[in-house]
Amino acid sequence: MTPDLECLNLTKGFGDMLAVDDVSFAVPRGSFFSILGPSGCGKTTIMRMIAGFLEPTSGDIHIRGRSVLNTPPNKRPVNMVFQHLALFPMMNVAENIGYGLRRAGMAKPEIASKVDQALDRIGLPGIGPRKVSELSGGQKQRVAIARCMVLEPDVLLLDEPLGALDLKLRERMKVELKALQAAFDTTFVYITHDQSEALVMSDRIAVMNEGRFEQVGTGQDLYYRPETAFVAGFVGDSNRWSGRIERVSGDEMEMRTDSGMLMRGATHDRPLAVGQRADIFVRPEAIRIARSDDDLAHFDNRITGRVESLLFNGAASRILVQDASGSGEIEVNLPQSGEFAGLDRGSEVRIGWSGAQGNCFAAGKA
């Protein structure tokens, strides 16, 4: 089956600067695809090129197999949910949702029934006559999606639409958006700088940095098997050490950190050589806390340190450990068993993790 959306060597430059640098990807029909990256990485530029508001410097965009480069935005089978939703304040909800249908020249009664269907679909039946300004944030969100979905686009683009919502609502809308996508069975392309939005909702995620895709994969891929140092650092939290590689044997390696600590890690098939500068990333939840060294005997990295501070956050509580050699603070998840709930600032702890959890990347620009 042809993918709904395919970008081929897409490049966009503004003056000397390349905002999007030779990006290619395909989004299969009916899937939820996210582009995740820090602000200024070029993700909005990609989105605007797909929608037709920007013309690529080079490369091509195919929708259902056909190039849309010469199609103006109002004729593309693509619709967009804008960052601030861009509902038309001068129209009521029904008029907003019916706008595209009116423009397509559909008959009035037909528009009315389509609008009603769409309102049912988003779970807000009967709010058609309401003014946009009377809606809550979440309702606006759903209306904005319905406004696009009545046009049955091949691809729906969403430009950080949850950014303006408060935290609680954002959490709920994540689930709801995923459900809506399933209900409409349409291809969603979602851009965000919020990794949790991307991880929760997406079938596949592209991590973008400085105009390029660093890695494209499922949430699990990105989280557990980052392919670049940037992805390792950007997706999820990590402790990071820089140093020089002292030994490589198969998948295992050892690195001497700048503070002089010897650390074991895994290469995950990346070509790394002795003497090279490298970074090791270790997730806080991969690190175990223990009262005695014996409990950590099976880990090949062990450190003794002092609790610098306690970051209580319910199930996601952490401690910051200052290691004895002074190589900086290490973030460590507290086990949910409550075993270490009595830990105080200043108390001595032992921590350790297996070398396989230490993801090592050759030091680069990231």
Partner: protein, 285 residues
Amino acid sequence: MRAEAKLGLILLLTPLLLWLSLLILIPHVDMFLVSLRERVGVNEYRISLANYLTFINEPLYLRTFVRTAVMSTIATIITLLIAFPVSYYIAKIARGRVQSALFLLCLVPFWVSELVRTFGWMILLRETGLISNLLQYTGLADGPVEMLYNDAAIMVGLVYTSMLFMVVPLVTTLESLPDEVVEAGYDLGGSWFSILREIIIPHAAPGIVSGSIVVFMLSLGNYLTPTMLGGKDSLWFTELIYSQFIVRFNWELGAAFGFLLLGLSSAIVWGMLKLTGQTLEKTMG
């Protein structure tokens, strides 16, 4: 504490109240009383509506008023048609220095007095003026062309004088329209015309209406431009009022005309607001 707050309020309001009563209310009341006086002989007056009846019975005055109102309306429409794309460009397309430079360009004519501006147009448009000479020089006209002293010249002058007062409110309202909303219109299949009609104009409506009211009132109350550019056919209602007061010493009729202008122009503005479904609070707020 409370007494102090009250005193503060009174002090804050005093200039406004003084201004309103001394410069607006009292002169108007006085003018109204004058307009109700009828001269029956040397230094003999009685209260009557004779001055208002003169306006109704003399078709000339009514016609002049209608003409002034119609011309002002046309001037307002032309100003709007020219100012809208200009404002859209300034508010939405131009960026940074170009934007401020364009805005400044609209402002520049107001650095000289209205008299000088009008003289400028006279220099351009008169028979021995710049445009006439240019046309003859390029061979587009055989003899001198007189472009001054007609309604078109008045129109040019009025539109030119009013432009800024239309551009400012339009730029302000258009700037408050997020680009996203216009893009959303495109994205959902709208053509530029339907976006203009259904999104941009409804959004800019308060600016359009307030700009139109200001331009209409300015044109209606303009004195210099119509008299200087219009020449022998420049009939304008303010000119009538002026001549009643200054030339004819007929303050009674002049005052009546003044009140009729006030009343009729208010009625027209009110009608426009009703017609466009706007309210004064919305347009001025």
